[in-house]
């Protein structure tokens, strides 16, 4: 196995194990998405026009919340990089023959894996609330892939920002600045048809919306996989782009020390 994959693997194991030692983090990871799902699901359940063609609002909302979680998780994932920079763990790896790429990629991959776990939890909760995944097994797969990619797109961006700013406060400000606007510029909460024209136009270029479209099609429609494939490919391209950005900022960090 190439060194970069081996090192990425070990570093993912390290991060995952560290997170598993934070009971509060695990609780938040599981409970918070459920709260979103139950809260929004109840709040808007009477407004039938919101849900496009879905049979219930909760069915419409579930893939949206899965994606929201994934991209929020991604935007915050740079915090782990900052903590590693602050604790000089990164420098320790750099003075050893660690794969440079693995230091960055392990953070991005870890965000993707976390997103898949959360997606599965949310889908199971959705099932309990009467959601049907119309796409069947391929549908489940698409939701998982879409949320993993979405998390990785924003994790690449977040790690890049972390490596440029190297300060927690700046990282928090950036994550907040990016998170909510992108959420409201997407069809997470309401059908595209109800958006004002200009938001509809912008949302077409919003990676969050690519993920939502793919996941929602898999849950609500189930079939017509062509457009879904295009959205997933767009997300793959965006992941490559933001990961390249993170790698570039990592080189900039190395030059600065």
């Amino acid at each position: 196995m190439p060194q970069v994959l081996r090192h990425t693997g070990w570093m993912i194991v390290r991060q995952a194990r560290n997170l598993m030692r934070e009971p509060v983090w695990i609780a938040m990871m599981v409970i918070q998405p459920m709260i979103w799902l139950l809260l929004y699901g109840q709040l808007f359940s009477k407004v039938t026009s919101l849900r496009g063609g879905a049979s219930s609002y909760i069915e419409f909302l579930t893939p949206g919340i899965v994606c929201m979680n994934a991209f929020f998780g991604g935007t915050w994932s740079g915090m782990a990089m900052i903590s590693d920079l602050d604790r000089h763990v990164v420098d320790r790896f750099l003075a050893a023959p660690a794969s440079r790429l693995a230091i960055v990629l392990s953070q991005v991959a870890r965000a993707g894996i976390t997103a898949i776990l959360q997606a599965l939890i949310l889908l199971l909760v959705g099932l309990a609330l009467g959601v049907r995944v119309h796409g069947g097994v391929p549908g489940w797969l698409v939701v998982c892939v879409a949320s993993a990619l979405l998390a990785m797109v924003f994790s690449g961006f977040s790690n890049g920002v972390a490596l440029l700013l190297r300060r927690e406060a700046s990282m928090i400000a950036t994550a907040n600045f990016v998170g909510l606007p992108l959420m409201f510029l997407s069809s997470i909460l309401l059908a595209t048809a109800l958006m004002p024209g200009w938001i509809k136009q912008i949302s077409r270029f919003n990676p969050v919306n690519w993920g939502v479209n793919a996941a929602r099609n898999a849950v609500v429609v189930g079939g017509d996989w062509g457009p879904t494939g295009v959205f997933l490919l767009l997300l793959v391209a965006a992941t490559a782009a933001t990961s390249a950005f993170a790698t570039w900022t990592f080189r900039a960090y190395q030059r600065s020390i």
């Binding site: 070990w10 030692r21 050893a96 023959p97």
Partner: protein
């Protein structure tokens, strides 16, 4: 063969010339200290030698490999214990060492055996499976050393190994370093701004000041190079007339390198026993009440003053990082 060779290294960070032509060499199996106050360029030198920082110019070989041209070969042969601990707080001591071993391509039974051996060597065998967040400063430091040694490096870099430790932990660390030098058959380069640390641990010392090596030799040679003894006169009170006291001592025949440290006036004289009565009567004549007088063979403190013309403690204080930050 020399384990480390540094030739005319320079490095500039924006307005600061961190290294201004650093040259020295360390013999195989030697414990070598870079001694200097904060901001002298010790850490930057170590960061160049450990491949973390590229020098602007100059050349450096570690275990025979060029740090710029073959950084990965260098990384395989060195252990690096940074000034700031590189311990992963959320992982156990054992997990920290295991991961570092895996990065060095170790695996399986030999790796686990080595980790057990190291945990015992640094006295962490009882805390091995506790998360490092709960370790004391001294324990984290010892874990850092175990992490740096996992792959049996030929050269170990210890950047300020005892900074931030309490005196008890510092003494324990000194014993540790002495033991390592013998047991693990290592070349050790350590940096320190504690004169007594360099004196105690290092076979040879290079004094670093403002990005340059000022002088290099065994602690004994360096001290022997200064003839005479140092006299310290502690004044009972100075009433802000310390400058005047210095002038009084300076005016005396044979008194050299007179400087002040708190309420203590220090000077170097050819013979302490002869000089003390003269100094005391001169100070008394100008109305300075004296609390105590001591003489001593020259210390590395005196060596520093002699070669740089500056007081070590004052220089150290001046460049102290504003907060707990990284030294350049």
């Amino acid at each position: 063969m020399d384990a480390i060779v540094a030739e005319s290294l320079t490095k500039r960070y924006k307005a600061v010339q961190a290294l201004d032509g650093v040259s020295f060499s360390v013999r195989d199996g030697e414990v070598f200290a870079l001694l200097g106050p904060n901001g002298a360029g010790k850490s930057t030198t170590v960061r160049v030698l450990t491949t973390l920082t590229r020098p602007d110019s100059g050349r450096a070989l570690v275990a025979g490999e060029d740090v710029v041209r073959h950084p990965n070969r260098v990384r395989q042969t060195i252990g690096y214990v940074a000034q700031d601990s590189g311990v992963d707080w959320e992982a156990t001591g054992r997990e920290n060492i295991l991961l570092q071993g895996r990065i060095h391509g170790m695996a399986g039974r030999p790796l686990h055996a080595r980790v057990d051996e190291l945990l015992e060597l640094v006295g962490l065998d009882n805390a091995a499976d506790r998360v490092a967040r709960g370790y004391s400063g001294g324990m984290k430091r010892r874990l850092d050393i175990a992490i740096g040694l996992v792959h049996k490096p030929r050269v170990l870099f210890l950047d300020e190994p005892t900074t931030g430790l309490d005196p008890e932990a510092r003494a324990a660390m000194w014993v540790e370093v002495e033991r390592l030098a013998h047991q693990e058959n290592l070349t050790i380069l350590l940096t320190t701004h504690y004169l007594e640390e360099a004196d105690r641990l290092a076979e040879r010392v290079a004094i670093v000041s403002r990005g340059k090596i000022v002088v290099e030799g065994t602690p004994e040679d360096l001290k022997a190079g200064l003839r005479g003894e140092s006299v310290s006169v502690e004044l009972r009170e100075s009433d802000g007339r310390l400058g005047e006291a210095v002038q009084v001592v300076q005016a005396l025949d044979g008194a050299d390198e007179v400087h002040v440290d708190g309420r203590v006036v220090r000077a170097r004289v050819p013979n302490g026993a002869q000089a003390i009565p003269i100094i005391l009567s001169a100070l008394d004549g100008r109305g300075f009440p004296v609390a105590s007088v001591t003489t001593a063979r020259p210390s590395l403190d005196d060596v520093y003053l002699h070669y740089t013309g500056r007081d070590f403690a004052a220089e150290d204080e001046e460049h102290k990082p504003a907060e707990k930050g990284r030294e350049r």
